[in-house]
Assembly symmetry: C2
Homo-oligomer: 121 residues x 2
């Protein structure tokens, strides 16, 4: 066996596309994904799963129908299953996500920013 | 609904006990746990689950039978299920863990540092 630590910042340095989550690790049937966000996402929800967000850089706004939550580096938020939300960032934000491998980035919505097949980096 | 971001460093500031993981968030049936480590743990394995470690402060050594892996802040490691390992830190280390809620800190071993009931903070 060959165990290598994974440097999160080094993984972020490997890509520049926004709204295109990459996989950096797998824990059972859950994935650790990282993504770069800027601008506005689509309202969506995940009927089958909670979703964990940890901000690595920048400021992430997570909109809920009740209002926004702001996250900065070192803060995390669990979006409960079935709850509509939308991510937004004025400046580019780096986000770490933890969720079941079948989770689609746009949840119950399919559109041009839906990523069906995730890339490992 | 009331969504509050969770500040990881603020949660670490709430306790000082070592080898006593606390729960800070739940994602489906997985828990986000944080712990302070110093010294040597016990060799153990988790037959049923992988285990995700992310270092928040200090240097963590994870010993495997094949040799050690060193992790610093911003690095992660997945310990595969069934693989014997032991954590160690010369200076106090802050560790974030992600694993199923039924996961026992000492895995297949029960001893005086086994934590059966986890505290939420």
């Amino acid at each position: 066996m060959n165990f290598q630590p994974i440097n999160i910042d080094s993984k972020f340095a490997l890509f520049s596309e926004q709204w295109s989550p990459k996989v950096i690790a797998k824990v059972n049937d859950y994935l650790v994904k990282i993504g770069k966000l800027q601008g506005d996402f689509v309202w969506h929800k995940h009927e089958e799963t909670d979703e964990l967000f940890i901000v690595n850089k920048g400021i992430l706004r997570v909109d809920f129908r009740e209002g926004p939550v702001f996250l900065t580096k070192g803060q995390l938020l669990v979006v409960p299953k079935g709850v509509e939300h939308k991510t937004q960032a004025d400046q580019e934000c780096e986000l770490i996500m933890f969720e079941p491998e079948k989770t689609l980035n746009t949840g119950n919505i399919t559109c041009d920013i839906t990523v069906e097949k995730l890339e490992w980096i």
